[in-house]
Amino acid sequence: MSEYLFWIPLLPLLGFLINGLLLGKLPRPVVSAVACVSVGLSFVLSLLLFFELRSLPPAAREIEQVLFTWIAAGSFHVDIAFLLDPLSAVMILVVTGVGFLIHVYSTGYMHHDKDFGRYFAYLNLFTFSMLTLVLANNFLLMFVGWEGVGLCSYLLIGFWFHKKSASDAGKKAFIVNRIGDFGFLLGMFIIFWQVGSLEFKTVMEQAPAMFVAGGGLITAACLLLFVGATGKSAQIPLYVWLPDAMEGPTPVSALIHAATMVTAGVYMIARSSVLYMMAPDALMVVAIIGAATAFFAATIGLAQNDIKRVLAYSTVSQLGYMFLACGVAAFGAGIFHLMTHAFFKALLFLAAGSVIHAMSEKQDMREMGGLKKYLPITYMTMLIATLAIAGIPGLSGFFSKDEILWKAFSSQHGHWLLWLVGFITAGLTAFYMFRLIYMTFHGKERMDEHTRSHIHESPRSMTVPLMALAVLSVIGGYIGMPHIFGVTNYFEEWLAPVVHGPGHQAASHALAAAGADTSMEWALMAASVILVIIAIFVARHFYNKKPEAATAMAEKMSGMKTLLANKYYVDEFYGATVVRPIVNGSLFLWKFVDVVIIDGTINGLAVISRDISEVLRYVQGGKVRNYATVFVAGVIVLVAYFIFG
């Protein structure tokens, strides 16, 4: 079975090749069948491999498949090789599973688009790249996938490239990502420089011997890798591209900008957990950035009116949670949240897509309201997802978020301030999510007559994935229930061989066994639940019961609201501090350095050579015999040199 590992990424690639090479030649049903079936088969294969992996003893859970040597230059050796271990197994299940549902959803959502084939080709290419990223057994191959998903993200954000905002957003995403990739590359260089290999296993085994724990080099490497992660996973300061990425089709937002690609940074950090464990300072930076992003994005999310933008900032915020988890060395919790988040955030986006679909492509929540009765399935599923993200007990989000909060508080890398930020953010999350629900589905119908007449529940191909994801959002958390419920945390146990160094694992067990802090954990959990419920009721008060109260409130705090609505002017800040100097510098380089100095030199040379040629051209008579004569004369001189010289 394990020899079929490479088929997991290969199948989407085949799908891409078929759809991409026969672009516009295939009828739509075939296109969608190819795309969905390739990813679906990939999912089935992932499941089979997952169970095979599970049947192995925990220490031996590792399937590696070396396809061929990619680069072999001196001591530099990189294979095209795939590694399936508990961590990547979780990731491929999420990628192929959620990916498959989103593919199915897309067949309905994109049905009227004229570039149907191109869309699915991109989507398959993305799936392939993401799977390469996840399954890679070395940093370089991972980087290939990393760049691949970046490319697909660019292509899909700019899918409707005839819209200037879309193509601009695509470029922004690409450029910002490039900044992060630069850091990633540098980090990779440091690792290769020190360890002499890029293979994960080798690096993780050798790192303790090659680096001084807590030393500057390992910290630098980890921080540079983290720069890569901030680019890809939209963390401060490189998060600005993600909200703009909402210009892409909504299923793309669900797949790439919520469920999979943006979590690549988290995955990468979890993958390099051994390195991070050796660099506490880097971990601290990760935790602080994560917490700050979580809070910061959540506050922006409070004041957005575009339904997708709210979700985008929510995604940034939740990613911040994951980094917070990683930063406190709770990598398992981060991955756990990654998974549950993939379920409910994908669901939220897809449901939002369903709403937008129904609303004739309108995204402004101020024009919605009262959609509950038109879109029952969408409403129900979205409500489940919202409850999950808000952290209502019993739903998946609760378990993962609570574990993060608890780890932030209790871990030896944690701090109560980190917990506090996370705690407040949880409240904000519940607030803005329910604001979204109330503004969209409840209250007065604010849309115009024409739009209202077109509102309809989405087709089966879209609602079925919604329901599937809703189920996952509900039950997804039960595999990772905390110890205090008296059950085993299967998820943590599953990931333990990969993301925890042995020492850490022991510490965690010891902590669980001691049971001393149980009361504290219960208390914190209760506090967050209460906060969430309060936040929900506040949201209900402002946006359902008394909308005018919200307006009054907004007027009172108009300064704050403007600040939030304009996203803290971060884009403007970047524009002024980064973009403008670069543009001015480029203009200088263009107008002066290029035009005057370089072109001037070249033109001057051209003028000089033209004038010289004016004279010399008489030598070039075009008469072959003259050339031959000169040639022979040259031979004579040479021979003379050798004889007499």
């Binding site: 015999r625 004569t629 022979v632 031979v635 004579i636 021979v639 003379a640 004889i643």
Partner: protein, 194 residues
């Protein structure tokens, strides 16, 4: 003066005569014939040097193939002796064009004369009767020089393909009226582009 020397001198004289006449002719066909004469004389020298095989090959390849090809082209293009081709050069050009080869020959003479060369070659029948036979040359060719030989084969293939491609007339192009063979006084059309 031995017989060897006599043979050498005669064939050398014929070779030089043929070569000289070749470049002096107005009529290209006569040039070809004089070149053949020169080549036959050179083949004799080859044979005298023990290169029996190469002497035969020289005749077969040059006289039998390459120069027939030349004649074929000359006939195909119907190239008669043309006064334009023998118009005298301007004095300066004439001087340089004569001086350069003469200088070269003088220089080569220095090379030949000053350097001490290996001992004298023997005549037609050397000590080793197999020298230069097909067998020895072929053995050398197919062992030590296998790679150059194969490359030469590739070169020939490329040349054949190239010749076909170059000389092929585009079918779309209207055929130019070829001058009849009887048209003795054809004036070449001055097509020098301005």
């Amino acid at each position: 003066m031995t017989l060897d020397y006599a043979i050498f001198l005669i064939s050398a004289a014929v070779a030089v005569f043929g070569a000289t006449m070749m470049i002096m002719q107005r009529n290209p066909v006569a040039s070809v014939l004089y070149l053949i004469l020169s080549l036959v004389a050179q083949a004799v020298v080859y044979v005298q040097l023990g290169a029996l095989f190469l002497g035969a090959i020289l005749i077969v390849v040059y006289a039998g193939a390459i120069l027939v090809l030349f004649l074929f082209v000359i006939m195909l293009l119907n190239l008669r002796s043309n006064p334009e081709l023998s118009a005298s050069l301007p004095p300066l050009g004439w001087f340089t064009k004569v001086a350069v080869p003469v200088l070269m020959v003088v220089e080569l003479y220095f090379v030949v004369d000053r350097v001490i060369w290996p001992p004298v070659p023997t005549g037609i029948v050397g000590k080793n009767p197999d020298f230069g036979s097909v067998e020895t040359v072929a053995t050398m060719m197919f062992t030590d020089y296998m790679y150059p030989l194969q490359l030469t084969g590739v070169l020939l293939l490329v040349a054949v393909v190239g010749a076909v491609v170059i000389a092929r007339r585009e079918s779309a192009e209207p055929r130019k009226t070829t001058a009849s063979p009887d048209n003795r006084n054809e004036q070449p059309i001055d097509t020098v582009a301005g």
